[in-house]
């Protein structure tokens, strides 16, 4: 009998003790631990931006996400090719003065253009920001298609070939000393759609890091860049989980694979992002500089590396290359990995990609 009574008292005490423990642990953890917050906004780079991060207070996190939004807005205005902003010479200004005069611009424009030229060389011309005249034809048709109920017709090949005569990147003249840019061909136009978003994301990530901000992740329209790591429930660093969009949008699994990243970037170019339909067929926004038509080799290409600008450019470039050429390029670059999804949903990885899978 005594044993049972002792046992009862023991259980009684244990239950209360355990509860006391959990409560104490919570208070301690709350003090040391940062809380996870998220925010999203729609007004930059014509897409949705998400910020996920850890901070001690909501105000602190808000100040970070506001910082991200302001910086992105700044780059968005500079790199815009469709709109004018008062008091700002942006890429549209350079285009408007094509063949006429050099335009004095901010160093952040010079830096983007220099970077884009480097990517042109690195990708053997598969990313060409001087292709604006060709891309504009596709852009205008896509705009018309989305805003009307009647079906549009595809661009005539002659029109595309004609526009393709004015895509020589050598005619993009950058004068660093004077901080000016001149397009030495009146018919040439810049379109920085393949580099600007990633480049801006990278600059914002570096800015956050300089400000001493850590454990934060940005997605600018699916262009993902992590600054530092995620934190687990005890505040210990663990990798972020980044899903790669399932090209089958009807699937309940939004991610086709999940990748672990820390201080890295993951950028995907996919056929499902921006497109229009003619005769039951979808025409997406990634235009192959050789065929002047949307590439059909893949459903998406994802790039995992350290620099979001490089990842953005490479995802477009590799999308426009056949598998062998793309693989050769990726394997030749240090700390760059790629994942291809073929039209039959088969997945192909570069040699070092799989070890990053969750």
């Amino acid at each position: 009998m005594k044993t049972i009574r002792k046992l009862c008292i023991f259980i009684w005490i244990s239950v209360f003790f355990l509860q006391a423990c959990t409560r104490v642990e919570n208070t301690v953890a709350d003090k040391a631990q940062k809380t996870r917050y998220s925010a999203s906004f729609l007004d930059v780079f014509d897409t949705v931006t998400q910020v996920v991060g850890y901070a001690e207070t909501e105000e602190e996190f808000k100040s970070y996400s506001q910082m991200v939004q302001e910086r992105l807005e700044y780059y968005h205005r500079l790199y815009d090719i469709y709109n004018d902003y008062e008091g700002i010479a942006n890429i549209k200004t350079i285009n408007d003065k094509a063949g006429m005069e050099a335009v004095k611009v901010d160093k952040d424009i010079i830096d983007l253009l220099k970077f884009s030229k480097e990517m042109y060389v690195q990708t053997d011309g598969k990313v060409n920001i001087a292709m604006g005249s060709v891309l504009r034809i596709w852009h205008d048709i896509r705009e018309t298609a989305t805003n009307s109920t009647t079906e549009v017709s595809l661009p005539a090949m002659e029109e595309l070939t004609l526009a393709n005569q004015y895509v020589d990147i050598e005619k993009l003249i950058i004068n660093e000393e004077e901080s000016t840019v001149f397009l030495a061909d009146a018919n040439m136009r810049l379109d920085v759609g393949s580099t600007a978003k990633g480049y801006a994301t990278e600059q914002v990530a570096r800015y956050l890091k300089e400000q001493g901000i850590d454990n934060i992740m940005l997605s600018v329209g699916g262009n993902v860049r992590a600054v530092g790591s995620k934190l687990d429930d005890n505040g210990n660093p663990i990798p972020w989980s980044v899903g790669i969009q399932n090209p089958d949008m009807t699937s309940e699994n939004q991610s086709i694979v999940v990748v672990n990243i820390e201080d890295k970037t993951l950028v995907t170019s996919g056929v499902y992002e921006r497109y229009f339909t003619v005769g039951g067929k979808n025409y997406h926004h990634i235009i192959d500089p050789d065929t002047l038509y949307p590439g059909e080799s893949y459903l998406s290409v994802s790039i995992l590396c350290e620099d979001s600008g490089q990842a953005d450019a490479l995802s477009t470039a590799v999308f426009n290359m056949d598998l062998e050429q793309g693989r050769a390029l990726i394997e030749s670059l240090e700390n760059v990995e790629a994942m291809w999804i073929l039209p039959d949903m088969q997945i192909v990885y570069s040699s070092g990609f799989e070890k990053n899978l969750k």
Partner: protein, 124 residues
């Protein structure tokens, strides 16, 4: 050895207390399934219960409409009169942080739930 009646009572009381305290100290978010928050131009428009099957129609003075359906804990945009229709093709969301965005209408549908998504963010 005989078990006294009082011992049984004591044991049962401990048992009940243990079970009760388990529920009492469970984090609040685990008690309900989750919320579906709908915002327009970053302003909260409507909050719906993820556990409750419903159809919500958003309409503004410009004639923009979006129809959001919740069924069996899953949310989808079943209809919208936006030009690109990307939101309608975005499929189903069900877990914490997952969102459907209608860019032309500035509308975001986002889930807040204790059921963690397998990914923190999606590259697309």
């Amino acid at each position: 050895m005989r078990v006294k009646k009082t011992d049984i009572i004591l044991l049962s009381v401990i048992g009940i207390l243990a079970v009760l305290s388990f529920f009492a100290f469970r984090p609040k978010e685990l008690q309900d399934k989750g919320k579906v928050s709908i915002s327009v131009n970053a302003k909260e428009e409507k909050v719906l219960d993820l556990a409750e099957d419903t159809v919500y129609v958003y309409e503004n003075d410009k004639g923009y409409t979006n129809t959001i359906s919740i069924s069996g804990g899953k949310v989808r945009m079943t209809d919208a009169n936006c030009p690109d229709q990307l939101c309608v093709h975005q499929g189903v969301i069900a877990k914490d942080g997952e969102m459907i965005v209608c860019l032309p209408h500035g509308l975001v549908v986002e889930i807040e739930s204790s059921e963690e998504a397998e990914a923190d963010i999606i590259a697309k």
